[in-house]
């Protein structure tokens, strides 16, 4: 039951208590001040009990996303009962009619050649805000028809409907929608066309003055500092099936599976770049690698500074190859040279330079590193929105600070414990 006494700390409560019909205010009940973000609460309001209503109403409204404005109307109404504001749902026909066109089925934010990666994840993303607070039944129809849509093979699709996955900004249709609308701008076209069935609705949508944005092309909506699509649509909406006709539902099932595996694979493919591993793109970027603080170490004939935490370097040659895999390497020892000196004026520390491992990329997109005989898993690190620069600070002759560039991506590398233990067991 909603508290009947509003927050006693409200300045207005003292003066307005008299207007409360027959309810004595008990000074012993003190509630903490309501959070400032519920704007309606911080405004001095007439009856103290009205505040109570506002608290619960405001919260409930926030919860359901019904941003129909401050509950001042309720508060001012007085009385102690909580009367939820009922909003009738529009009849299905109305909803269907005003639903966004099928083409708006969104994909993940990535540029066109990457749309394949985006398909899976983006699938669910778009279902979110469309239709506002309600389940948006009408809106599901377009997903259903994506058998020919962006999630399908590129050979599908109607070249005519080159709009591709996109979002729409619809003028608020009802109170439900208000909270759910995002402002988008129009953008270009994608390669993947849509099914023929959708183009009609496209036109209709356009006639309605709906702005369309091509998600396949835009990573950030609303300009460079705009909204990152990834924030809003991380989850695939599986409720779509319910409203779909059988034939289309079947196609959708097939798409779903692919979408799921695409989404999973995408975690790996996305490690170095949205485009999978493409030398051309890779070479211009600085990647930040986070390895485990403890790494298999390497020998050098000098006592070297521990650049990797690990076994202390012994000046001699380590003589026992324990793991079977290392035996071929002992043959290398004979002809291995001392890792060459840096030779650069910059580094006075004798370090280690040389081949230490391999980076493998598998067909599914899974990435792994073999480092000094230990296999490691590679994953994409968390993206950050803030600036990260790589800078070289040199105090040698001149005090120089040089900016090399921004960090493009983070990569996290962890030892594959399963394999590590499995192989260790086997060798015993």
């Amino acid at each position: 039951m909603a508290p009947k006494r509003g927050p006693q700390s409200e300045p207005s409560s003292a003066s307005s208590s008299s207007s409360v019909p027959g309810t004595p205010i008990q000074p012993s009940l003190t509630f903490p001040a309501p959070p400032a973000r519920l704007g309606s609460l911080s405004r001095p309001r007439a009856p103290a009990s009205g505040l109570a209503q506002t608290v619960s109403v405001g919260l409930s409204r926030a919860g359901t996303g019904l941003a129909s404005g401050p509950g001042s109307s309720l508060g001012a109404a007085g009385g102690l009962k909580f009367k939820p504001k009922l909003v009738a749902r529009r009849p299905k026909e109305e909803r269907d009619a005003s639903a966004p066109a099928p083409s708006s089925a969104p994909a993940v934010s990535s540029s066109t050649p990457q749309s394949t990666r985006g398909r899976g994840r983006g699938r669910g993303r778009g279902s979110g805000p469309r239709g506002g607070g309600g389940p948006g039944r009408g809106g599901r129809i377009e997903i259903a028809s994506t058998a020919a849509g962006p999630f399908a093979d590129p050979s599908f699709g109607d070249p005519r409907g080159l709009r591709g996955p996109s979002f729409e900004k619809r003028p608020p249709q009802s109170e439900k929608d208000v909270a759910g609308q995002l402002k988008f701008t129009m953008s270009g076209m994608s390669i993947n066309g849509k099914g023929t069935g959708e183009s009609d609705s496209d036109d209709e949508a356009i006639r309605e003055g709906v702005e369309r944005i091509d998600i396949a092309k835009v990573a950030k909506v609303g300009g460079a500092n705009g909204i990152d699509m990834g924030h809003y649509f991380p989850i695939r909406d599986s409720a779509a099936r319910d409203h779909v006709e059988d034939g289309v539902a079947l196609a959708e099932d097939i798409i779903d599976e692919r979408a799921v595996s695409a989404r999973e694979a995408e975690e790996f493919v996305g490690v170095f770049g949205d485009d999978g591993v493409d030398d051309h793109d890779l070479e211009r970027k600085l990647f930040f690698f986070q390895f485990a603080p403890v790494l298999p170490s390497f020998e050098s004939s000098r006592a070297s500074v521990k650049l990797e935490q690990g076994v202390k370097q012994e000046p001699g040659v380590k003589s026992e190859p324990v793991a079977e895999e290392e035996s071929p390497l002992t043959s290398l020892k004979r002809r291995a040279k001392v890792p060459s000196d840096s030779g650069s004026a910059l580094s006075s520390v004798p370090g280690q330079d040389g081949l230490v491992g391999q980076l493998y990329i598998r067909k599914s997109g899974r990435v792994s590193i073999e480092w000094g005989g230990v296999e490691m898993e590679v994953a994409k690190g968390a993206d950050t929105e803030f600036l990260q620069d790589v800078v070289v600070l040199d105090h040698a002759d001149e005090h120089k600070a040089t900016l090399l560039g921004q960090i493009a991506r983070k990569v996290v590398v962890t030892p594959n414990i399963d394999i590590l233990f499995k192989e260790s067991d086997e060798s015993e």
Partner: protein, 271 residues
């Protein structure tokens, strides 16, 4: 040292790398065969699933040339779409460090045409620049990697620093105000008296009170002088030269010195 000295083949089949994640697509892979042929690395190949064969591989080289100079500057208050570079008209103007303490200060320009409060600007005498400051910390396992010619080169990072706006101008302002207030209070007409001062000699042994811990570090940092550094922007000759230094100096394979069991122990000890 060029690629030909590498004892094994590097196969790259970029075209076959999936741009299309469609699993139904049939991608023939021959890379794994080629690599497996190499006897030297053969036993080091990771276990391959037949249904998930290796498509591409890059040799990884460790590079140490910049290892004691490489830093990461993080600007938590700045979006990554607006870097401090000359190309955007907002280059770093000045950089000062205290090498021993790891303190770093960076001056960046402020756009005084938009969203700038001139009144406050005058009050604080902050002309057209803002100072960001931070402390460097070190961490293990951080590396910067670049790809070049199908190779990945990793250089360990010396330190990371988060640069946040420092309000030294406000401090200065407050200090100035204090001084003004103090001088007003003092009666300038009264001559400063001459007093006899008694000198004592205090032998400093361990009983003398000293700073410790964080306070000591702070004192040390305050006593240290800033070293002015010359800033070289991105995409300059110097920057390109240094970027090349990120590449490893050697292509020779390094010999692993840790066995798997030892590595397990190391991990366990670290935890």
């Amino acid at each position: 040292m060029d690629a030909s000295s590498v004892p094994f083949e590097i196969k790259e089949e970029d075209e076959e790398v999936t741009k299309d994640i469609s699993l139904a697509a049939d991608i023939s892979v021959s890379t794994s065969d080629a690599v497996a042929k190499d006897s030297l690395r053969e036993n080091l190949m990771p276990a391959e699933d037949d249904d998930d064969p290796i498509v591409t591989s890059f040799p990884i080289y460790l590079s140490s040339r910049l290892a004691s100079n490489l830093h990461i500057f993080q600007y938590p208050v700045r979006p990554n779409t607006r870097p401090y570079t000359g190309s955007r008209g907002e280059p770093v103007l000045d950089l000062r460090t205290k090498p021993q303490s790891g303190l770093i200060q960076v001056d960046v320009p402020i756009n005084t045409t938009q969203f700038y409060d001139h009144e406050k600007g005058e009050k604080w005498g902050a002309v057209d620049r803002q100072t960001l400051g931070g402390v460097t910390t070190t961490s293990d396992g951080y590396m910067i990697g670049i790809f070049k010619n199908g190779e990945l080169h990793l250089t360990p990072v010396k330190g990371t620093c988060q640069l946040r706006p420092s309000f030294t101008y406000v401090d200065k302002d407050a200090q100035t105000e204090k001084e003004i207030a103090r001088s007003v209070k003092q009666d300038p007409t009264k001559p400063t008296e001459i007093r006899a001062v008694q000198m004592t000699v205090k032998s400093s042994d361990d009983s003398a009170p000293r700073y410790s811990g964080a306070l000591a570090a702070r004192k040390r940092a305050e006593d240290e002088e800033y070293v002015e550094m010359r800033w070289y922007d991105k995409d300059t000759e110097d920057a390109w030269y240094l970027a090349d230094q990120l590449l490893s100096a050697s292509r020779e394979p390094l010999i692993p010195a840790t066995t798997k069991d030892e590595y397990i122990d190391l991990i366990r000890d670290k935890i």
